[in-house]
C-alpha cells in the first residue's frame, strides 16, 4: 500500500469523465457522494487478508479518472460481494453495486475475467453452473430427492439476446463430443 501510494499519477492520462460514465451505469449512480472516509475498506473482509483490494482506493481512482488502471487491473474482480461496506457507508454509496458496475464496464471494454467466460458457456449449455445428469440424479434418488431435468434452451436464448453469449460460442460447444 505504502509503495503504491508513492506511485506517480500522470495527469494527462486521467479521464475526468470516467466518474460520470460510472454514475450512468446501473449500480454506480451514487459514486460521486463518496467523501473517502474509509468505512468501506475497514469493513471489507477481502481487504483484511489481501491488500490488493481496497474499496476506498478503487473509488478514489474512479473519481480521479484513472480509467485504464481501474478497468484493466484485476482488483475489480476481487470484491466478494458481501455488502458489508454497502450497509455501513455513511453516504449511502451502494459500493457492492458499484463494484458490479465497474466489472460490467470492464467487460464491455474487453477485460472480462476468464472464469466468467467459462461460466457463461456452461450456463448456456446446462442452464445451471453445475450439470445434472444420470449420476447426480441417481445420487439424488438415493436420498429420496426428485430427479432434475436439464433444459438450457430458454437460458441460452436469453443469454444470447442480452448479448453475453454469442451464437458462435454455442455452435462450437454443440459440436463438442459429449
Amino acid at each position: 500500500m505504502s509503495q503504491r501510494a508513492r506511485e506517480k499519477i500522470d495527469a494527462d492520462q486521467l479521464d475526468p469523465n470516467f466518474k460520470f460514465e460510472v454514475a450512468k451505469e446501473r449500480g454506480g449512480e451514487l459514486i460521486v457522494r463518496c467523501f473517502a472516509c474509509g468505512t468501506c475498506s475497514a469493513s471489507c473482509p477481502v481487504r483484511q487478508v489481501n491488500d490488493r483490494f481496497n474499496p476506498r482506493r478503487i473509488i478514489h481512482m474512479v473519481l480521479l479518472g484513472l480509467k485504464e488502471q481501474v478497468l484493466t487491473d484485476d482488483f475489480v474482480w476481487l470484491c466478494a460481494g458481501c455488502f458489508s461496506c454497502q450497509e455501513r457507508c455513511p453516504q449511502g454509496v451502494k459500493i457492492g453495486d458499484l463494484m458490479t458496475a465497474l466489472r460490467n464496464i470492464a467487460v464491455r471494454e474487453g477485460h472480462i475475467h476468464p472464469s466468467f467466460t467459462a461460466q457463461i458457456v456452461l450456463l448456456g449449455k446446462a442452464g445451471r453452473l453445475m450439470e445434472i445428469g444420470d449420476f447426480e440424479n441417481k445420487k439424488r434418488g438415493r436420498l429420496g430427492l426428485p430427479p432434475m431435468r436439464q433444459d438450457a434452451s430458454e437460458v441460452c436464448a436469453l443469454l444470447e439476446r442480452s448479448g453475453i453469449l454469442s451464437p458462435d460460442e454455442r455452435k462450437n460447444r454443440d459440436k463438442e463430443p459429449k
Binding site: L78, C79, F83, S84
Partner: protein, 303 residues
C-alpha cells in the same frame, strides 16, 4: 383467512445450481422439515440458475434470468422459497429493481417474450430459514421439538446474502445485529454461541477468482468457531458450505491447523430436534466429523 394461510404455506422450491448437486443433505433435510410442518414445497422443473453468476458480466442479463425464474413461479401463483442465500439476493434484487423502475420491467418483458414468458412482478422471495422464522414462527416450531438437543453448543453463521443488502430483503432484520438464527437454534435446545465471525463473509464470492484469498477469509471463521469450542458450525447457504465444510480440510492443510469442525445446515439441526431419523437428514453427506457429531447428539438425547 384460511385461504391466505394456505397460500402462505405453499412455496415454489428454488434450488439453484449448488444445492441440488453439492448440498443434497441441505435439500433433503429442508424438504423433510417442511413436510412435518405442513409447508408445501412445489418443484418447478423449468427453474434454472438464478442469474447471480452473470451479474458481474452484465447486470441486465442477471435480471433477465432472475425474471424468467420469477415468472415461472408467478404462472403457478406461488411465491418462491430459496435454500441458497445468493439465489435469494439475486431474485429479490430483481424484484426490488423492477418495483423501483417499471420501465426496466417492460424492457425485461420484451426480452422474455422471445421465450414465451412474462413477469408482472408479483412473486415474493423468501429464504427457507426466514420462512421458518416468520411464517411458521418460534411458538409453533417449539411444538414440533421432540428430542431437544440440550447440551449441544453450536456456532451460528449467517453468511452475507441472507440479510444483505437489507434494502432488497425489505429490512426484515438488522444486518448488523440479527437474532433469527440464534433464536431458531435455541428452540432446538442447543445453545448458540456468540463468536466474532457470525456475520462474516465465507469468501465463496471470489473462490473462482482468487482461491487463496477466499481460503484466508474462510479460515478466519473456522478459527473463530473453533476458539469458542463449538460442537458444530450451523449455516444456511450452499456456498458458505463449500467454503467452510467442503474446503475445510484443504484450508487446514495449507495453514497447518486441524479443524475437524462439523458443519451442519440449520434444517438438519432442526430435523434432529424434531426426531426425524438421522439417516434421512443426509448426514452421510456431511464431510467433516459427522460421525462424532451424531455420537455427541445421541449421547445428549439419551440422557
Amino acid at each position: 383467512m384460511k385461504a391466505s394461510e394456505q397460500k402462505a404455506l405453499s412455496y415454489a422450491l428454488f434450488l439453484g445450481c449448488t444445492v441440488p448437486v453439492r448440498g443434497m443433505n441441505y435439500e433433503a433435510s429442508a424438504r423433510l422439515v417442511a413436510e412435518r410442518l405442513r409447508i408445501r414445497l412445489v418443484d418447478i422443473e423449468a427453474f434454472s440458475c438464478c442469474g447471480f453468476p452473470v451479474q458481474s458480466v452484465k447486470k441486465y442479463s442477471a435480471l433477465l434470468l432472475a425474471a424468467r425464474n420469477l415468472s415461472l413461479a408467478e404462472q403457478k401463483d406461488l411465491d418462491i422459497c430459496v435454500l441458497c442465500s445468493a439465489c435469494g439476493v439475486s431474485l429479490s434484487e430483481a424484484n426490488h429493481a423492477f418495483r423501483q423502475n417499471p420501465d426496466l420491467l417492460s424492457q425485461i418483458n420484451s426480452d422474455l417474450q422471445a421465450v414465451g414468458r412474462h413477469y408482472s412482478g408479483k412473486t415474493k422471495v423468501k429464504h427457507f430459514v426466514r420462512l421458518l422464522y416468520e411464517d411458521v414462527g418460534l411458538k409453533r416450531l417449539k411444538e414440533y421439538i421432540h428430542q431437544p438437543l440440550s447440551g449441544l453448543v453450536v456456532a451460528p453463521f449467517y453468511g452475507c446474502h441472507y440479510l444483505k443488502p437489507a434494502e432488497v430483503h425489505d429490512h426484515f432484520e438488522d444486518p448488523e445485529n440479527p437474532t433469527s438464527l440464534e433464536e431458531l437454534i435455541e428452540i432446538t435446545g442447543a445453545q448458540a454461541l456468540y463468536h466474532a465471525n457470525r456475520l462474516s463473509c465465507c469468501g465463496g464470492g471470489i473462490l473462482g477468482i482468487d482461491e487463496a484469498t477466499a481460503q484466508k477469509i474462510a479460515k478466519s471463521t473456522l478459527d473463530a468457531a473453533k476458539a469458542v469450542g463449538a460442537d458444530a458450525l450451523v449455516l444456511q447457504c450452499g456456498t458458505c458450505d463449500v467454503m467452510l465444510e467442503l474446503s475445510q480440510r484443504k484450508i487446514g492443510k495449507i495453514f497447518e491447523v486441524e479443524y475437524n469442525l462439523p458443519v451442519v445446515y440449520y434444517p438438519q439441526l432442526l430435523g434432529l430436534a424434531m426426531g426425524i431419523p438421522q439417516e434421512e437428514l443426509g448426514f452421510a453427506l456431511n464431510r467433516v466429523g459427522s460421525q462424532e457429531f451424531l455420537h455427541r447428539v445421541n449421547s445428549l438425547v439419551a440422557r
